[in-house]
């Protein structure tokens, strides 16, 4: 982790300006609001069953084992993506990669903080907005609060997390973020109509 420490001191110098993808974009339509969420730490975690307990202890959040679920604790969310795959999002500015590095059991943790951009979709028409490009059933019965799934939106892959009854977090790859935001903007207009 020495490398990460060096990086952080270097970033403190005001020599470079980091511009996040979609920075400052937002959109409000009747019944739905889109907002670009602030940067977060993210890791892609792969691990066999035998490693789950140790990794959960190290991360401070129990890795969910049921399909389409997530677990959240102290600003850190673990999303079930596959039988041995999780997306861990940390919004408390702590580094989950460093926590995983202390674990000696078999696992693979890859930092993808800057690969993804998160967009929040909020409001009574949020589900309708996302459903304009996502074929999954987003009713509260089938996709309750806390449900998370990798799926598609229009032509791209997204990871969808329902944080509240009328709030979704859409995680997409950085290079697709413009497409996703434009798609959701169009959809928000339609959903409001």
């Amino acid at each position: 982790m020495a490398k990460a420490a060096v990086k952080k001191t270097a970033a403190a110098a005001p020599s470079a300006e980091r511009r996040a993808a979609l920075a400052g974009q937002e959109l409000s339509a009747a019944g739905v609001t889109l907002a670009v969420l602030p940067p977060a730490e993210r890791i892609s975690l792969r691990a066999p069953d035998a490693s789950i307990a140790a990794l959960s202890r190290a991360l401070g959040v129990t890795l969910p084992r049921k399909p389409k679920t997530s677990a959240s604790k102290a600003g850190r969310t673990a999303l079930w993506l596959g039988p041995d795959e999780w997306l861990v999002i940390d919004e408390a500015e702590k580094d989950p990669l460093a926590d995983c590095a202390k674990v000696t059991v078999l696992h693979s943790a890859v930092g993808i903080s800057h690969r993804n951009v998160a967009i929040s979709v909020t409001g009574p028409a949020a589900a309708t907005t996302i459903n304009s490009g996502c074929p999954q059933d987003l009713s509260l019965g089938a996709f309750p609060v806390g449900a998370a799934s990798r799926t598609i939106l229009g032509k791209v892959e997204i990871v969808l997390l329902r944080t509240e009854a009328h709030t979704f977090r859409v995680e997409c790859w950085r290079s697709f973020s413009d497409y996703v935001f434009t798609f959701l903007s169009e959809a928000a207009g339609d959903a409001a109509a």
Partner: protein, 98 residues
């Protein structure tokens, strides 16, 4: 839209999340270098392409990303059942007429 049951996600999901990955249960020879040209051709190129029940590999590409096997009717396009990769060919198909 077709709904396909993913045995790993344990629910039916829209077909847009899936990709077909060819015929299932094609055993790869343990001694590939010793295969005759004819046997290799059969393994590599020749597929059954039946009219009716077919066993296929599918991948939940935009979901859990897992490969699994599916039994599908090529006439009606109906998925009869799906099961996890590595599991044997089901002896009995649910609701199959034959």
């Amino acid at each position: 839209m077709l709904l396909i049951r993913c045995p790993y996600c344990e629910e039916e999901r829209p077909e847009l999340e899936f990709r077909n990955a060819g015929e299932a249960h094609i055993a790869r020879s343990a001694n590939m270098a010793g295969e005759s040209d004819d046997d290799f051709e059969k393994f590599f190129f020749i597929r059954s392409n039946p009219k009716g029940i077919i066993y296929e590999r599918w991948r939940h590409m935009h979901g859990c990303a897992r490969f699994f096997n599916a039994v599908r009717d090529t006439v009606t396009d109906k998925f009869i059942m799906t099961y996890k990769a590595g599991e044997p060919k089901p002896a009995k198909l649910p609701g199959a007429s034959k």
